[in-house]
Subunit: 539 residues, 2 copies
């Protein structure tokens, strides 16, 4: 059913014409294969073969001026023997060709030289491993799905890689309360499929869902497409079990929504990126499966109209609004031009993708149509379409989700994941364009308008140090001036740790350090990550 | 419009008859006057006069076997002079008759002997006060609306009372993002009124809203009536400013929904009950005002039918379900019998109050009617009514909210606010009844079914030590066995600190202590609260 035809039924006038959306060449919408992962809409081939992996410069070389190896022990044959004795030889990987995939990140920008991968199956095994590493002063890099965009999930030097991939059991699902209890290695998409069979869904959804693991999602406080509706993991994670650096098992496994018995320690581990402990079990509050999903693509001329549309959507769609995405014209030109995707509405200065999901389809459609009719009549929106059927839904989502992939075709892409007030989304892009002048090929902004989260992207033919120096620290200063966050949903990892002060005052960084020292006195857990590089672990 | 008449229109059969609800004598529904506060549905007269206050036994006497004064300094004339110099004499209260109200809790069970009340107006003043108290080793009891049910907001001995009541300004409201920035002393109800004028609401609602302050709500992680829909304060508080024990101002004032720049420290202070710092500023994500609210009262025979109704409500009402409350027959008999309230449906073994709120009234009504028709036809519900108009809505809510008040008319009431799996709500009540035999006058359960939060109440003619000893630790062991929480939404405060181990393992209590020592090394902030009594502050 088209936007236009719906409007016709209500007020007898056809305000819009729906154009059939062209089929996209690779059908990349929220699909996933084992060889490709869509990370925040970025399709990247992953190759575990050693020939291609060594193409990626070692982090210790590329970032030699910014990091130096901590005073940790180096792996010895006795260590390997210990791990083999505890885990069995098949769950201890030391063969170089097998190690390569665990040492390189998705974006192929950072590469460690970890000599061993351990694959525990139980909390007790993780406890034994960490106690041993802590006693031996061996650094450890926890790794879940390895889809980090900030270099958080691979070693910087030779850290022991602790993979949670074999801890992938659903332990319990309570159909009365909707609370799922599971292990950290469960793949997000598989959990969602498991829940769909029981008329529930996961409260989060990411492009990388086909390979990312829930333990990694929680450890990085992953955001994604459902945050607007169901909130962050700080709200949906009810409990967790964590193994601390010294092997202590910390049981915070409440399955209750309400628990006011003292400091809620689980929040420390949500978003700590494995630097304070390793999450070994989780309880998550899951929402009921919505019966109906509707999607609209809208175009508007003037950023003020974007804001008005958002405000009206919140008011008129209320409880059924589940996504509110923003695409500026430079982003749309990129995705349609570089990937030959068809724009089903006329060209505009700005675009929005609005999704509703609810328990009764006909109600949702009526709300959406009334909302659209009103903003059309009031000339807030210049053109729009409602997707009908899964193909059109996929095609419209592709215009949003494949922007990152399209940008890479420009050459090199400088990427920034920022929280800023939504009222200044376009101002940031304009200011950056002015700042860069002709130095940049393209400056564009898109992202989660409903969550005040913009993805600012700049492209040039190849990496250009002078362009880079014009962007940074300009962009971070701009964000700080607007009280934003220099990492909205991607985390800090290795790459952003030295920019932390743009979003956190010294007092907060000081307390972060104190808590790190408290829970991991030797600093063995995911070193060189999250905390600024001037952090000196007590060793 | 009645439940029955609606059903008639859809399938031509009248399943129910709506009975007009009798007007309640005191109209206590979510109303509040300065002389009465409704705390979790409990109307308690508050009297600041010294004659009545001294009737309450001093905590130091009543609990003399459970607590002893820490090695803090006693207030000296020089201290009073210092505070007067910094705040002016009108914001430093030392007159005994004026002090009394600040020393006694709402329930009139605990009473401190604080010699001074300070009323700062700015963060800087709080910083000066705390730095001074920390240097002088003077203990401090932060106090917001003083509506704690666990003795958290009054001194145990002679702590300096730091009242936030004069810090009650709304600093900013962003109508685009719905983010409210305010001071901690803002009264919850006033904030909600402020937001209603702008088509938004507060994400929490409590019986005590007329006097409780938002800083206290956040410090105690208050739950309340909207938690089912909008989540806990861990999800809606975006940022806060906190003054630490040594006067350090910790700026965690993000107004962004997404901020993944390191450990999210604000969560430490949400629910810390003022033991880690004093919240001086807040940013809160506020939802849009719902346009329509509907309310139904249902009766069912058999606890299995309560569970089925809840599950079906989640599925069929989905996004508009905003409250799902549970009342067992013993609770209903109490509120109707002791307060002469009229039950508008036939007697049942169990009752549920289901509220919907949404953006389009006619849609909500249709969903609610279809849901009710289905569960009626399937004999899940034996009787029910939909409230029409504000009077009927108030009258139905009164049946739920005035239970606590009704229980007090039995004589003495032993009160427990527990999280347990909702499937065992009735089992707990039955087990307690068996445990107590004829010793108890009444054993009943009611509460927030949708949040797995039951209020277990037992009454006897007067306080009976043998009854009490049969209840405790039986109830805590029962809750622990079911992995529940011994304090769902009321917090720990002074009264529950020594029961913490029923819901928290030793490792977690140990880390709580470490964090307390880290942020408040001398232990001056709200001593004798939250942490178990064997905690020894370093002084």
């Amino acid at each position: 059913m088209s936007f236009g035809s719906k409007l016709l039924t209500r007020r007898g006038i056809a305000l819009l014409q729906f154009s059939s959306v062209g089929k996209t060449p690779c059908g990349g919408f929220r699909t996933f294969t084992t060889s490709k992962a869509n990370v925040c809409g970025l399709n990247i081939s992953r190759n575990y073969s050693s020939t291609s992996t060594v193409d990626v410069e070692l982090t210790s070389v590329r970032y030699k001026d910014h990091v130096q190896r901590g005073n940790f022990a180096a792996l010895q044959p006795d260590d390997v023997s210990f791990f083999r004795e505890k885990l069995g030889k098949h769950r201890v990987i030391t063969d170089q060709s097998d190690l390569d995939g665990y040492n390189v990140d998705w974006l192929r920008i950072v590469r460690g030289s970890g000599k061993i991968v351990l694959k525990p199956k139980t909390t007790e095994e993780i406890s034994i491993i960490l106690k041993y590493c802590n006693d031996r002063n061996l650094a450890v890099c926890p790794q879940a799905g390895n889809t980090s965009l900030v270099g958080g999930s691979v070693p910087v030097y030779d850290e022991v890689i602790l993979s949670t991939s074999l801890m992938d059991a659903v332990i319990n699902f309570d159909e009365w309360s909707g609370v799922l209890v599971c292990e950290p290695g469960c793949i997000l998409e598989k959990l969602n499929d498991y829940l769909l069979d029981r008329d529930f869904i996961m409260p989060l959804d990411l492009g990388a869902k086909g390979s990312c693991q829930i333990g990694g999602n929680v450890s990085t406080n992953a955001g994604g497409l459902r945050l607007l509706r169901y909130g962050s993991l700080h709200s949906t994670v009810l409990g967790c079990e964590v193994v601390l650096a010294d092997g202590t098992v910390l049981d915070l496994m409440s399955t209750m929504k309400k628990d006011n018995t003292g400091y809620d320690l689980k929040h420390l581990f949500i978003g700590a990126e494995g630097t304070l402990g390793i999450v070994t079990k989780l309880a998550i509050q899951c929402p009921a499966k919505p019966n109906a999903i509707n999607l609209a693509l809208l175009g508007m001329d003037g950023f003020d109209k974007v804001l008005t549309t958002f405000k009206r959507a919140k008011r008129d769609l209320g409880e059924i609004l589940s996504s509110c995405e923003y695409i500026d014209t430079a982003s749309m030109e990129c995705v349609t031009g570089n990937l030959n995707l068809k724009l089903p509405i006329s060209q505009s200065q700005f675009y929005m993708v609005i999704e509703t999901s609810g328990s009764l389809g006909e109600h949702d459609e009526e709300k959406l149509n009334n909302f659209l009719e009103d903003i059309m009549e009031e000339k807030i929106v210049s053109d729009g379409t409602i997707a009908s059927g899964s193909t059109q839904i996929k095609d419209i989502w592709a215009l949003r989700e494949r922007i990152a992939e399209a940008l890479l075709k420009d050459g090199y892409c400088y990427k920034y994941d920022l929280s800023i007030p939504l009222t200044v989304f376009d101002e940031l892009v304009q200011d950056m364009r002015t700042q860069l002048g002709i130095g940049a090929k393209r400056v564009c902004g898109y992202g989660h308008l409903g969550d005040s989260n913009i993805h600012l992207n700049i492209t040039s033919e190849t990496f250009d140090k002078s362009v880079h120096n014009k962007i940074e620290p300009f962009v971070y200063e701009w964000v700080a001036k607007h009280n934003g966050s220099i990492s909205a949903e991607h985390g800090v990892g290795f790459k952003k740790r030295d920019y932390l002060h743009y979003s956190k005052p010294n007092e907060a960084i000081g307390i972060m350090r104190d808590i790190k020292k408290l829970l991991d006195p030797k600093g063995i857990l995911n070193p060189y990550k999250v905390l600024p590089s001037n952090f000196s672990p007590k060793i």
